[in-house]
């Protein structure tokens, strides 16, 4: 990177920085040249950092009151809600925070899809992001099990049983995951342990994600390479920090709207019934953010096939930089891709809706078509577009089209 070498202004600062260059790091973060045309879709990185911090802080204090035992978990949640000072607030921030985290991450991912941020030279950033997304799903799933309500128990049963579809060793794996012959106390305690661990692994990946980002620098809405620093860039601080803060403010207002006015609207009432291993709720649904994948799982009339397709739908995203070989990043200059992007978006929403509906009749048929299209988009449409699409001319610089007229 072509920034000036930072020299601390005080003698102590210089002494310290020579031994641990933290001041150089913070100077780099502040001066970091950022494309000046970043729009509000680029503010979700900052929002996501806030979400992770918020989940970790509220999670740690909830862990001081929660008891991971099948006899006490459900009641300890009620204890948090009724007795612990501000326990209701902390828990509602944590449970709605998970939803807000996923909302932000989906916007972040679709922004990347639209503007081609996953393309060379940013493949590693994308892959790290997908690893974060995968860990987020695992963390959220295990967190949902902890209250030990009906949805917790049966969600855990269904998801852990996915592994029983593996030929030969499937049953040993599920027994190992459970620590018994069904979802029970050993399962709950290990889920609590891992639910506490994974956010810190996410944090580590986030550091790598940002590190990898700072090597090539940000992509931008017109998706062109820019010289840094130049008239096309602004320093991260104060230009981007203030824009990120403003977006965060709006986001937090919406977040607070959920927490204070409808804290249970994104949850499922069945989870306020204590877990009962003898009765399965008539309609099991995962949290909203996992519904599209659930729809894919259910659309296959075969156990192993469904599980394979479910995992394939996530892992196919890792290969995205090599499936879409178009040199033009931004969809603004890709007239065909632009339309397929929106079709994919609609397709994912349709899958999400079908995941919430019973798997029968017309719903099942639509879910199957949407599942097929999901894979067609990545495996057929993108590779073909890469070679046949006639892209529009891209500008040479961010300032150029403006300054020349």
């Amino acid at each position: 990177m072509s920034e000036k070498t930072y020299v601390p202004s005080t003698k102590f600062g210089k002494w310290f920085n020579d031994r641990l260059p933290l001041l150089s790091l913070s100077a780099h973060l502040m001066e970091y040249p950022t494309p000046k045309n970043l729009n509000y879709w680029w503010t979700f990185g900052g929002i996501l950092t806030f979400c992770l911090a918020s989940q970790i802080v509220t999670g740690i204090v909830l862990g001081m009151h929660y008891i991971a035992h099948t006899d006490m978990a459900f009641n300890s949640i009620e204890h948090i809600m009724r007795d612990v000072n501000y326990g209701w607030l902390l828990r509602y921030i944590h449970s709605n925070g998970a939803s807000m985290f996923f909302l932000a991450v989906y916007i972040h991912i679709f922004r990347s899809l639209f503007y081609g941020s996953y393309k060379s030279p940013r493949e590693i950033i994308w892959i790290l992001g997908m690893m974060i997304y995968l860990l987020m799903m695992a963390t959220a799933f295990m967190g949902y099990v902890l209250p030990w309500g009906q949805m917790s128990f049966w969600g855990a049963t269904v998801i852990t049983n996915l592994f029983s579809a593996i030929p030969l060793i499937g049953d040993s794996i599920t027994t190992w995951l459970w620590g018994g012959y069904s979802v029970d106390n050993p399962t709950l305690t290990r889920f609590f342990s891992l639910h506490y661990l994974l956010p810190f692994m996410i944090l580590g990946l986030v550091v790598l994600h940002i590190w990898a980002l700072h090597v090539p620098g940000n992509n931008n809405p017109i998706g062109i390479d820019i010289k840094k620093p130049s008239k096309d860039t602004v320093p991260f601080h104060p230009y981007i920090t203030i824009k990120d803060l403003f977006a965060l403010l709006i986001f937090v207002i919406i977040f607070a709207g959920f927490v204070f006015f409808s804290p249970n609207i994104l949850g499922h009432p069945d989870n306020y019934i204590p877990a009962n291993p003898l009765i399965t709720p008539t309609h099991i649904v995962p949290e909203w953010y996992l519904l599209p994948f659930y729809a894919i799982l259910r659309s296959v009339p075969d156990k192993l096939g469904g599980v394979i397709l479910l995992f394939a739908s996530i892992f196919i995203l890792f290969a995205l930089p090599w499936l879409d070989r178009s040199k033009v990043r931004s969809a603004i200059f890709r007239p065909l891709y632009r339309q397929f992007f929106w079709i994919l978006m609609i397709d994912v929403f349709v899958l999400g809706y079908m995941g919430a509906m019973p798997a029968e009749g017309t719903y099942l048929l639509i879910a199957r078509i949407a599942t097929a299209y999901y894979f067609v988009h990545f495996l057929v449409v993108l590779p073909i577009l890469s070679s046949v699409e006639k892209t529009e001319p891209i500008p040479l610089g961010i300032s150029d089209p403006v300054l020349k007229t």
Binding site: W176, G180, P186, G306
Partner: protein
Amino acid sequence: MDEKPKKSKRDFLFTASYTLGAVGIGATIWPLIDQMNPDTSVKALATTEVDLTQIEPGNSITVLWRGKPVFIKRRTQSEIEEAESVNLTELPHPEKDQDRVKKKEWLVMLGVCTHLGCVPLSDKGEYNGWFCPCHGSHYDTSGRIRKGPAPTNMEIPKYEFVNNNTIKIG
């Protein structure tokens, strides 16, 4: 440069050290992995005795064994006949009814859908047996899968009749 260097005593020492190191790491990791398997207190709860006297024909009870529901169904004559008359070629997982019961009247099986582990509802579905509400698997009066995503019939646990009115599961 292209010539392969001769295997020396040093190469042997490297290979031996790496191998021993790998075995050592494996032996260290194994306890960390195996601690997640069922512990002795879980394994100790392996058998359950059930009294059958209260169950009327056509009714069933559900008992908990190893944390899983076990259906004990006292089948009616028509249900037995229905189960026995099925042509095996129609079944996704062909098993004779007589191989699934010890006494025709009593069907004892794990009440766990072989798809993803939900508990099926009794006397529901298109085959008068069980229906799993989670992902729509239909089972017949012998607990055999007939329609839906479940790959196999519901499992029959190990059990025996202690006397005419009592069974021991496990």
